[in-house]
């Protein structure tokens, strides 16, 4: 079963064609990678698929529904989560509050419930707090749980963003460079966690990454982008051997 389909996506910025007829598919429970040079259009593709930018043309289907016209919050509510290349943490909130702020909730985010329904708000907060603590533990963020997110290191912020999106109980998460600025030991750990989430929770991941070795070991299917187009896709090991990919991605160095 295909979970996420992006079809013939075209996107221009001020006349510059950033995405030129890009299509890709993510199967349910799939682990998919996207590589490409800087400026190839990878992050823009995520922005279009998640609804942050509107595509000039093309379709985005998720779990059997056309979501191409939905605003980003509605796509997230359907289970399509994302993280950002440059972390967008809520800097003044603590790590734990960051996760709590992300949690979908029935009470406490309307004025009426804040002032009249505090009992159910408190009950829900306790429940979500336990859930947040679970992910904080899982991501090894316990030591910084009470610290303002702005004080975290780059790698910790990447983990925080992952924890935040996990609060949504997503079906699919778009990860934009989860290994950037992360030390090699931690890269292995994050890969293991992603695999574990994939196996135990069935979450599909689409990963943009420049760490080719780590990505090759993680994903089952790899897309290569260059100048706004998908130039190759398939089994990661095979795709990375493709001469066209070498030419475009590594400038034929290897």
């Amino acid at each position: 079963m295909t979970l996420l389909v992006a079809k013939n996506i075209v996107k221009h910025f001020d006349g510059l064609c950033v995405l030129d007829d890009v299509s890709f598919e993510v199967p349910e429970r799939g682990l998919t990678g996207i590589v490409g040079t800087n400026g190839a259009g990878k992050s823009t593709l995520f922005a279009v698929v998640s609804g942050q930018f509107a595509a000039d043309s093309g379709h985005v289907d998720f779990a059997g529904h056309d979501i191409g016209q939905l605003p980003p919050m509605k796509r997230a509510r359907r289970g399509l989560g994302r993280t950002f290349q440059v972390p967008r943490e809520f800097g003044h909130l603590t790590v734990r509050e960051n996760l709590l702020a992300a949690a979908p909730r029935a009470h406490g985010e309307t004025l009426l419930s804040v002032f009249l329904g505090w009992r159910s708000v408190a009950a829900e907060d306790a429940e979500l707090g336990a859930k947040a603590d679970h992910w904080i533990d899982f991501l090894n963020l316990k030591a910084v749980a009470g610290k303002p997110a702005s004080t975290l290191s780059g790698g910790q912020k990447k983990l925080l963003e992952l924890g935040r999106v996990l609060m949504l109980e997503p079906k699919c998460v778009l990860l934009d460079e989860p290994f950037a600025g992360v030390n090699p030991v931690l890269i292995g750990e994050i890969s293991d966690k992603l695999r574990e989430l994939n196996t135990s929770r069935g979450i599909a991941f689409v990963v943009i990454e420049h760490h080719l070795e780590a990505l090759k070991a993680l994903v089952q299917h790899l897309y290569v982008m260059d100048q706004g187009r998908v130039i190759a896709d398939g089994d990661p090991a095979e795709v990375l051997e493709d001469p066209r990919v070498h030419e475009a991605y590594m400038g034929g160095v290897i």
Partner: protein, 294 residues
Amino acid sequence: MASYLVAVAIVALIYMLLTVGLNLQYGYTGLINFGHVAFFAIGAYASALLTLKGWPLAPAFVVGMVVAGLAAYPVGLLSLRLSDDYLAVVTLGFAETVRLVIQEEKWLTRGVQGLPGIPRIFQSLGVGGYAELATLVTLVACNVAAVALLVHLVRSPYGRLIQAIRDDEVAVQALGKDPARLKVQVFMLGAALAGLAGAFYAHFITYISPDQFLSLVTFYVWIAVIIGGPGRTSGAVVGSLILMIFIEGSRFARDLIPGVSEVQMASVRLAIVGLALILFTIYLPQGIMGKRKV
């Protein structure tokens, strides 16, 4: 002297209501509202006009609040399309527009002549300071209530979410939450507090005219928010008190600085306010009550 201090305290508490409202908008939600005085004016005029038509004070105050809050609805909608500095310019323009409408719609507001004879709060208590004392007590109660409600609000999931909007709106949307409703509501809540402050002002001063609602008022409130500490409830309280001590205190400072006339002193005062603001933004951007940098 005692009655002078009571009067200063009343004005300080009116500013505190304004500051608490702006702190909710800017300090917690990141909305740059440079038109705060407009809602202060709307509250003042709404309540004054109704009481001059024979309404009792209490319902007129409520209507002043509600009208100011409703007037913020369209501006709140604008805040969804405009970010930061653009919103600042538009709200500044809105405040000027409101002032000009008040000035020109003479059939309603008597224009630049202003509205005299607005019923004083607790007029029945007569002269001799009791009316002022009762006003002071009521204002303290209103401020305590406003601060208590605000503290409850910002500690709730709602408060977490508005602070998340302030820190990164794109991330909030990516996490499935709609910032629009909260931003509009916060705009209206802050404006309603300004409207309440306006009603107190009108019924304390008993005379209002358009030139009392210049954007300078907005900037005084901004100074109180910045000095106190944006996004800190205690900051709004401390900031407005310091502002008032300074504004009133500088009246006496003239006696200490020889050779400065009354007119020149007004400029000196503004210069000192400006200098203080620059020094605060450089050396203490988190404000007096703000958390120290970790």
